[in-house]
Amino acid sequence: MKTIAVIFGGRSTEHDVSVVTALASIIKPLELTRQHRVEAVYIAKDGVWYWDDKLKDISLFSSGQIQDFLHKTQAASVQFDGGMTLVKASGIAGRKTARKIDIVFPAMHGTYGEDGSLMGLLRMANVPFVGCDQDASVLAMDKVLAKQIAEANKISVSKYEYLFRDTFARKSSEILNELENSLEYPLFVKPAHLGSSIGITRVNNRQELQNAIEVACHYDNKVLVEEEVPHLVEVTLPIMGNEELKPAFLERPLTKPEDFFDFDTKYMGGGKKGGGKKGGVKGAQGYSELPAKLYKELYDKAEQTGLKVYRALGCEGIARIDMLIDNESETVYFNEVNPMPGGLYAHNWRAAGISNVELVQTLTRLAEERWQRVNRQNTVFSTNYLQQF
């Protein structure tokens, strides 16, 4: 029986979303496969790692008892011993408990997890891990870089500019002028590296633009400013696979054109701003139309765009591609990539005929396949360079 470590929490604004993803959508179905021993590895908001079976219980988090628990619990450490081993004090005569990890299932959202940091660590440890690799995660988590890659691959993106916090602090007026010259209102201002719609603002004038950039700079040092897509239909497509890709259903969040996802409507309210619409299904992110009711050609076009983005960014394992459709011109714009979709977007996969248990089983298999492929590559080269010294 292989041991899987599910790593969740983390130093990210999306810490809480990560807890729910791990406990509801990953650990439970993984345990039900009966093929793996599952270890819960929780990274607290201060970055300290904990490893304990009690961390599998959502009530520990929902009741607020987590802080008391962490105070009483010894932190865990990670040992790189030709692989990855979790170590913690057992509490009995100073003895330590260790567990060799065969596969890692990252359930991290946002910084220090979904952005490639954790993937880099796991690559160094040479342990198979689920989801996108380091390179794809870095690209996906930078909305500007992702758009640039998409443009280079002839994938449409909405008109955009970007700026850095320090530059904006020095010459805000100049930057605002440039933005107003090159882009047309309404605009969206987004922190470049944050997910779960945190810090995103829709603006209609210069004053709002300035305020929104200041808000975004509070969260990130790189800020994306982009034009709103007119006649908007927003869709998202979860995709799974390494070389051979499997898309789930194109899903349409039920929002008004002037509305958009923010963190509260996405994860707290159970629906969209404005109350959403009747007749949709309730998924990980409120109500949505699943599958999106687009006519076949447009549906196929959006699906192909999603697959093209997935390949262009080098995604593997799982990712969710968000797209914006101008319903009048029927142009599909790539918006952003989510390399670790909240809750794995399990509701969409289930609708596409893949149960929660099958989903985590498949993702685990894909992780092992990629690891085997990577390990077949030669990374050493024999030279007599050192003999010169």
């Binding site: 439970k28 509701h347 289930r350 596409a352 248990v357 099958e358």
Partner: protein
């Protein structure tokens, strides 16, 4: 080792009393359960001990026995030899023996005479009651049929019905005490367990009409053979003499016992009624029933073609008792699946057919017949098998295995137990090529089924063993 250690758990007396409660304080069934050497720490996983007065007294008694035994042994080891302490290992046997003896004595001296008195009073109530008394018996489908009749007849008449699956002599007697005397129809479920049961119930309840809803090799621990079950069920004819006895001839096993005075009912019709235009889907079953110029259109939410015969019986009995066609059609349209009996539940675009109260061979076949005719992206069949099959256990489960294979599910999930190997034999013999998965923790599986289901699936869950069978 863990199993053995569970017999020395501080909660051991509680576990034993829970087991007694589960078998309704039947000393014989208690011993049968103990003989299977269950892991005591796992017996209370589905339910907990209900602290009735009787349970409380027995738990306290169990602990007193334990303390007494331990004290005696400790004293003996001090007084005689330290080796005497070894007798503590026999503590569980001591508790089991004493509880068994106590329950046995309590049964003989208190419970039995008390029950005999209750039955005597109830017999007078039934004999003097003016209602049409309908006895519902058979190896399976009794509770469902009773509920169907209640839905239809109860829409127009004052009907009283034995509650839930309370179908033994004493439960009928206690129910009689609750009747007001104003009822127009009494629906009485007869549960058979050993030879003579049906005769006793008929003598108690004085039925005017009887319905035998099928024959199957159930309760063979009491009857030994199918012939024994049949003789007991068909003994109702002797009690009713010329009054109507309906027999569900969907069950092939009843045919050797069918006599010309019996009224046969099945999916083709009954008593001059003809059935046509049958349609069956996940929405329910519908058909037309005609007798001469009289036409009744039946639309029910019940699932499967095996429901046609009991629905047809409801129509015929209701018609005989004076309900109009319109009243019958309206009432039948209200029939819906009963809890855990071919009860459909939509789950994330997939369907669960919960038939976990189905504990008989014919019912298993009926469910599989329905699964076979349904269209789905993926079909999954789940069962632990059947209990109380006696000497027929091996044959019955091999037949179930073959029947499963014929329904062509994509996947079969078997709850691992003593009959699993026989079902597997049947699957292999019938050339089943789909996936097979064995599960050793049914409760965990059933309670997390949402994690296994995807859109386009149909999962048929048949039967669920209670704690005392694992």
């Amino acid at each position: 080792m863990r199993k053995l250690l569970s017999y020395f758990s501080p909660k051991m007396p509680v576990y034993f009393v829970y087991m007694l409660q589960q078998v309704e304080y039947d000393p014989r069934k208690f011993l049968e359960w103990i003989a299977r050497f269950p892991n005591l720490s796992r017996v209370m996983r589905r339910q907990k001990l209900v602290m009735t007065t009787k349970a409380k007294v027995l738990v306290i008694y169990g602990y007193i026995l334990a303390i007494f035994y331990i004290a005696l042994n400790v004293q003996a080891s001090i007084a005689y030899s330290p080796a005497e302490i070894i007798y503590l290992l026999f503590l569980p046997f001591w508790i089991i023996f004493m509880l068994f003896i106590t329950v046995l004595i309590g049964w003989a001296l208190v419970e039995k005479p008390k029950r005999a008195h209750e039955v005597k009073i109830a017999e007078r109530i039934f004999a003097n009651h003016k209602a049409v008394k309908i006895a519902i018996l058979g190896s399976y489908g009794k509770t469902s049929l009773k509920e169907m009749l209640y839905t239809v007849l109860g829409s127009q008449k004052n009907v009283a019905v034995t509650p839930g699956n309370k179908n033994v002599l004493i439960s009928q007697a206690r129910w009689a005490g609750k009747l007001t005397g104003d009822e127009e129809v009494l629906l009485i479920e007869y549960g058979e367990a050993e030879p003579g049961d049906i005769k006793k119930m008929a003598e108690l309840t004085h039925p005017d009409v009887a319905v035998i809803n099928g024959l199957a090799p159930n309760h063979l621990d009491g009857y030994k053979t199918l012939e024994g079950v049949a003789q007991d069920l068909f003994s109702i004819s002797d009690q009713l003499k010329s009054r109507p006895v309906y027999v569900n001839t969907e069950s092939r096993a009843v045919k050797p016992y069918l006599k010309k005075e019996h009224i046969s009912f099945n999916r083709h019709g009954l008593d001059g009624w003809k059935i046509s235009q049958v349609e069956s889907s996940l929405d329910g079953v519908s058909f037309a029933m005609s007798k001469g110029r009289n036409l009744i259109k039946v639309e029910s939410g019940l699932l499967g073609r095996h429901q046609i015969a009991p629905l047809a019986l409801c129509v015929a009995v209701s018609h005989n008792l004076g309900l109009s066609n319109k009243q019958i059609e309206t009432a039948i349209s209200r029939t819906a699946p009963f809890e855990h009996r071919m009860q459909p539940r939509e789950l994330g675009g997939g369907w669960i057919l919960d038939d976990t109260y189905n504990g008989n061979f014919e019912g298993i076949l009926a469910g599989l017949e329905f699964l076979k005719e349904l269209k789905a992206k993926r079909k999954i069949y789940v069962t632990p098998g059947l209990v109380d099959q006696g000497v027929e256990t091996k044959r019955v489960h091999r037949e179930i295995g073959k029947a499963i294979a014929k329904a062509h599910p994509d996947k079969v999930v078997l709850m691992q137990n003593s009959v699993t190997k026989y079902i597997n034999d049947g699957l292999i013999k019938a050339g089943y090529t789909g996936d097979l998965e064995l599960r050793d923790d049914p409760l965990n599986f059933y309670s997390n089924i949402d994690q296994y289901v995807a859109a386009g699936d149909i999962w048929l869950l048949q039967n669920d063993w209670t704690d005392n069978y694992f």
